[in-house]
């Protein structure tokens, strides 16, 4: 469960680069999860390659494909961009579903084992949790450095004032494309963790509902903040795992929570905390 939250948080953080920092809302994010998971599963299970090489190929491959998608999707912004990413997500889902000779169709691919780096057996749940935590922290640090850098400042600039950014000499398209590709890269890492955790990948993991769930984590937690997506991921995974034991329609509950957040704490949970903090400190002084 804790590992699941960490893995979901990796997806949410990477999607946040696009949604929160670059202002480009995407609904195809589960596609990257699928790409990395299928590439690695197929290479390990069907071809018997080693973990290290498959992981590298899956991550590089997913990043390259993200780069190619970006070339097409970034011809648009706003709602058109959203629709294109949605279409990409659905294409990948369709491929996973229909290209049965490679993907196993509806049955998916099972049997990918967990790696044993330095002789530590990640098959052990405890070890796997620490491994997830380590990867999560590394991704967090990498993204934190990325968004605080001068380049990160230009990403936020293209979100607020793309026209001014062009007039200041920035190549807005290229900035967005690099962000789009970086988002693919970090998602691929999440995809690897996902497939190591479940040791199984099927088209369901690539579904639109999954993409929407990731977007929800980002928006609920607080887009454009470092902590927001992590809180959002924890919230969604908690609801999913805990509430589903008591309520049949946990998705309905999730929907209600989402509506509550959008109506009463727009900007997400992190922004809500900030406001409460200001309120409390303000009343003291």
């Amino acid at each position: 469960m804790a590992s699941q939250v960490l893995i979901a948080a990796i997806f949410a953080m990477s999607l946040n680069l696009l949604v929160g920092y670059a202002g480009l809302t995407s609904l195809g994010h589960a596609g990257y999860l699928g790409l990395a998971a299928y590439i690695s599963s197929w290479l390990t299970v069907k071809l018997g390659w080693s973990h290290a090489s498959t992981a590298a190929i899956a991550i590089v491959g997913t990043t390259v494909i993200a780069g190619i998608f970006g070339l097409i999707a970034l011809r648009a912004t706003g709602i058109s961009f959203l629709m294109i990413t949605l279409a990409f997500g659905q294409i990948l889902w369709g491929l996973a579903y229909r290209w049965a000779t490679v993907t196993g169709g509806d049955n998916g691919i099972s049997g990918i084992s967990r790696p044993s780096p330095f002789g530590i057996d990640l098959g052990e749940a405890n070890y796997f949790y620490y491994f997830s935590l380590l990867v999560f922290i590394l991704v967090w640090i990498a993204i934190a450095i990325f968004v605080r850098s001068p380049f990160g400042a230009t990403i936020r600039g293209t979100k607020d004032q793309p026209r001014r950014m062009s007039a200041l000499g920035f190549n807005v398209w290229l900035i967005r494309w690099i962000t789009f590709t970086a988002c693919g890269f970090f998602s691929a890492i999440g995809g690897m963790m996902y497939v190591y955790y479940h040791q199984f990948i099927s088209p369901h993991s690539l579904s639109l509902a999954n993409s929407a769930e990731m977007l929800l984590m980002v928006i609920a937690g607080g887009a454009g903040t470092l902590l927001g997506p992590v809180i959002g991921a924890a919230l969604v995974m908690l609801l999913k795992n805990v509430a589903s034991q008591y309520v049949d329609h946990w998705v309905t509950l999730l929907g209600l929570v989402f509506i509550f957040i959008v109506m009463f704490i727009p900007g997400g949970i992190v922004a809500g905390f900030e406001r409460i903090k200001i309120l409390l400190l303000g009343s003291k002084s």
Binding site: I145, F146, R148, S149, P150, F151, G152, A153, T154, R156, G157, D160, Q161, R163, R164, M165, S166, A167, L168, G169, F170, N171, V172
Partner: protein, 247 residues
């Protein structure tokens, strides 16, 4: 004869059936203060957008600093040292003043591709940004969020962002619009202090301030150049009185 730094030839632009720029010819010499006047809807801002690259022209050419820039994207033109301000404030509202200027400085530096380090603590950027803010008299407010500044200060920041880029030509779109008399005075003085190495092309409706400032004037009407010449020539032209200055 001096080569003009900006030469617009037979430039045209239509939106659907509406031709907003009709074979415009305009020549601006280095160091000149050139004023663009005309009634509302004359196509002044459109002409600015065509020169800066925000809009693509249908035909004609724009030669800036010896290079044909008509087909270049906006960012490339900015890299060739062409800077502009906007009539409608186009600032980064959530940031403080210094961040705005730092971003403007970054536009011309290779540092803008750096994916590590901290934008907040790049000392080169900070120092240079403060120098620019000093020029427009905003250094003391550098760390104030934009929301806490007045409209007049935001107008000055618009100019500061363009100046930060150390341009060869500066396109000012109504720098005095919506300001109080006092603030107009401040900005007029500020504009007069800009070094002559920077050429200025300006749209402005405040005739009193703008006329004192301009070396040459071009009058636009319905997308066409009606007359262009020295300040005296254009002011004395009967068509200027008829179309623009009133009776």
């Amino acid at each position: 004869m001096i080569n003009p730094i900006l030469k617009v030839s037979d430039l045209s632009k239509s939106f659907g059936g509406l031709q907003v720029t009709k074979k415009v010819n305009l020549s601006v010499n280095p160091g000149e203060r050139h004023l663009l006047i005309g009634p509302n809807g004359a196509g002044k801002t459109t002409l600015f957008n065509l020169i800066s690259g925000d809009l693509a022209s249908d035909s004609g050419s724009i030669i800036f600093d010896g290079k044909t820039v008509s087909k270049l994207p906006t960012a490339k033109r900015a890299q060739l040292d062409l800077a502009r301000t906007y009539q409608i404030l186009t600032l980064f509202r959530k940031d403080n003043l210094i961040s705005n200027v730092k971003l403007a400085l970054l536009g011309k530096m290779s540092l803008r591709w750096k994916c590590w380090g901290s934008f907040l603590y790049e000392s080169v950027l900070d120092q240079n940004a403060l120098v620019v803010l000093e020029k427009v008299g905003l250094a003391s407010k550098a760390y104030l969020p934009l929301e806490q500044t007045s409209y007049g200060e935001k107008r000055r920041l618009e100019i500061a962002m363009a100046l930060a880029q150390n341009p060869k030509i500066l396109l000012l779109d109504e720098p005095l619009a919506g300001l109080s008399t006092e603030e107009r005075e401040t900005i007029t003085v500020l504009l007069q202090q800009i070094d002559r190495s920077i050429t200025i092309l300006m749209i402005e409706h405040d005739m009193e301030a703008a006329l004192a400032f301009a070396d040459r004037i071009t009058l636009l009407h319905y997308g066409e150049v009606i007359t262009s010449g020295t300040r005296q020539e254009v002011v004395n032209d009967p068509r200027t009185k008829e179309i623009y200055l009133g009776h």
